[in-house]
């Protein structure tokens, strides 16, 4: 049990501990009841898990954008949801055009690569524009100010894209090669989900290698620790910040295409929920921490996919899947209470942050 700075237990500590304990009890009891009822087959659990993994990979890619920007600027880029939306929505028109002329059916792999490239470049361009216009002039302003412009930029982009592309839902063309399922170690996995998980893993691996091994990646870590000293090493801090937004934007654009592969549709509002979920994932993993965002994203995806059925079904709650958002955010609240630094994060309170 956590104690306060005086080493004493306060009433709040005791109450929170009791609430946590009670919740843990509900989870254990619910899971036990669900499992003993035998309502779900092993194959169904596997499906839920794989879907959660695919969804979580997308959260993880978006979460990296939040965490990278937080790392160098100590601010939450709330326009990141729209950075995520702008890519796949713009790429949709290219995909539809390529489908209409028959290119996408004839060369599906090349077509997908083109769609992904367009999506990533668009999201990157939007991320860089937001940084240049909405954040850079406010670099020395109090921390609340860029937070407000971030929210403003988010709405601005949403309604700009609504004005450009309309307020309806557009469906991505379906590709024959992405239909059906494959068997991995005896588990049936939808082709789209397998593609999403593998592609996300490749992107995360590349990003991690870049941050750890490249000269620019090391400079990013140096800037994240101490901007002034980084300048004294000859590091151009503005350039590093630009690179950070570009990387986060490109990853969000990639996540957007993967999202469109799973759900098949795009609209101007599509960024909001995944954006908030990915932010949750970033906090869950420890904001500012790159592996943390990946772990947090995957964990959140699986948790909200498997969780509702596992915890709630046995308690007799109908349609538990509709409560997945409630479950996801309840978890966020409890992580913030019991481990504010996240799964892999360091204790922020002791730092200057």
């Amino acid at each position: 049990m956590r104690k306060n700075s005086l080493g004493r237990l306060t009433i709040t500590d005791v109450v929170m501990f009791a609430v946590g304990l009670g919740l843990a009890g509900v989870i254990v009891a619910g899971s036990a009841a669900t499992l003993s009822s035998g309502k779900y087959t092993l194959a169904q659990w596997q499906d839920l898990f794989i879907f959660g993994l695919a969804q979580g990979s997308i959260y993880a890619l978006i979460a990296l954008g939040y965490t990278l920007v937080y790392g160098v600027l100590r601010m939450i880029n709330f326009a990141h949801s729209e950075v995520f939306m702008s890519g796949p929505y713009t790429a949709y028109f290219f995909a539809r055009y390529m489908f209409n002329i028959g290119f996408l059916q004839a060369y599906p792999v090349a077509g997908l690569l083109i769609v992904s490239a367009i999506s990533m470049l668009t999201s990157m361009a939007i991320a860089l524009t937001v940084e240049r216009i909405a954040y850079r002039p406010l670099r020395k302003a109090p921390r609340l100010v860029p937070l407000i412009t971030a929210i403003g930029a988010s709405f601005f982009l949403q309604y700009t894209f609504r004005g450009l592309y309309g307020s309806g839902i557009d469906r991505y063309p379906e590709l024959a090669i992405l239909k059906g399922s494959i068997s991995v170690l005896g588990v049936r996995v939808l082709v789209t989900q397998a593609l999403v998980i593998v592609a996300a893993a490749v992107f995360m691996g590349l990003l991690y290698a870049f941050v750890m091994l490249s000269k620019t990646g090391k400079a990013m870590r140096a800037v994240s620790e101490d901007k002034e000293t980084a300048q004294l090493m000859g590091i151009d801090v503005d350039r590093i910040i630009t690179t950070t937004f570009a990387l986060g934007g490109a990853l969000a654009g990639a996540a957007g295409v993967l999202y469109a592969l799973i759900f098949g549709q795009v609209q101007f509002y599509m960024g909001f929920v995944p954006g908030i979920k990915a932010f949750t994932a970033a906090v869950l993993g420890g904001i500012g921490n790159v592996p943390g965002a990946m772990v947090g994203g995957l964990f959140l995806g699986v948790f909200e996919s498997v969780g509702p059925s596992l915890f709630l079904d046995g308690l007799g709650i109908p349609a538990p899947n509709q409560l997945k958002d409630a479950i996801a955010f309840t978890m966020l609240v409890f992580v913030l209470i019991f481990r504010p630094s996240g799964i892999l994060g360091e204790r922020l309170a002791t730092k200057k942050a």
Binding site: K218, A219, A230, L232, M233, I235
Partner: protein, 237 residues
Amino acid sequence: MSILVLENIHTYYGEIHALRGVSLSVEEGEIVTLIGGNGAGKSTTLNTISGLLQPRRGSIRLYNEDLSNFKAHEIVAKGVVQVPEGRRVFGRLTVAENLEMGAFTRPLRSEIAQSLEQVFTLFPRLKEREGQLAGTLSGGEQQMLAMGRALMAKPKVLLLDEPSMGLAPVLVDSIFDTIRKLHALGTTILLVEQNARMALQVADRGYVLQTGEIILTDKAAALRENESVQKAYLGVL
């Protein structure tokens, strides 16, 4: 020949007039020390040279090139490199990565490798700790790393801000030994120190700074004998 010349530098923090017309010069191969009490403007002078602070008036010249309009990271590329007060190593980067960041502005791998060799000769301890996170080093080791990191930039002028601060006396001696070694290798150094006694022992010349103004300048040996310097900064009664 003067490498670095400051002429009539005025620096402000908001409305606070921190440097009131500081002029000084550093010759090639020299150690020049800037001594003075707390808040006299010693670190402000170094940060103005490094470009972290913009002077409102006056000029800073390196080999006759005006530096006052360059940004901090560009000034490093020109060859003016600072070891900041309090060491400021990147705690979550390894020792090797910290040194690599020191050489950030240098393009040639072969030359960087050569500098790394020199830094490891000067500080064999850093070689032993190469793969360790800098945050896990002791205070003395961190000071070595901070100096080694700056040397990786191959500075034309090295600015040292309070290198002995917070170190045990035996480590202070070894830091000043290192400064002597660097001097012997021909490095040009501008040294800021609270420990005026040690500073005036290694330096060729010194400036005394008081509330943002240079009140005295002379050969270091002469300053050591100066009565008011002895009283104010050397603790001689």
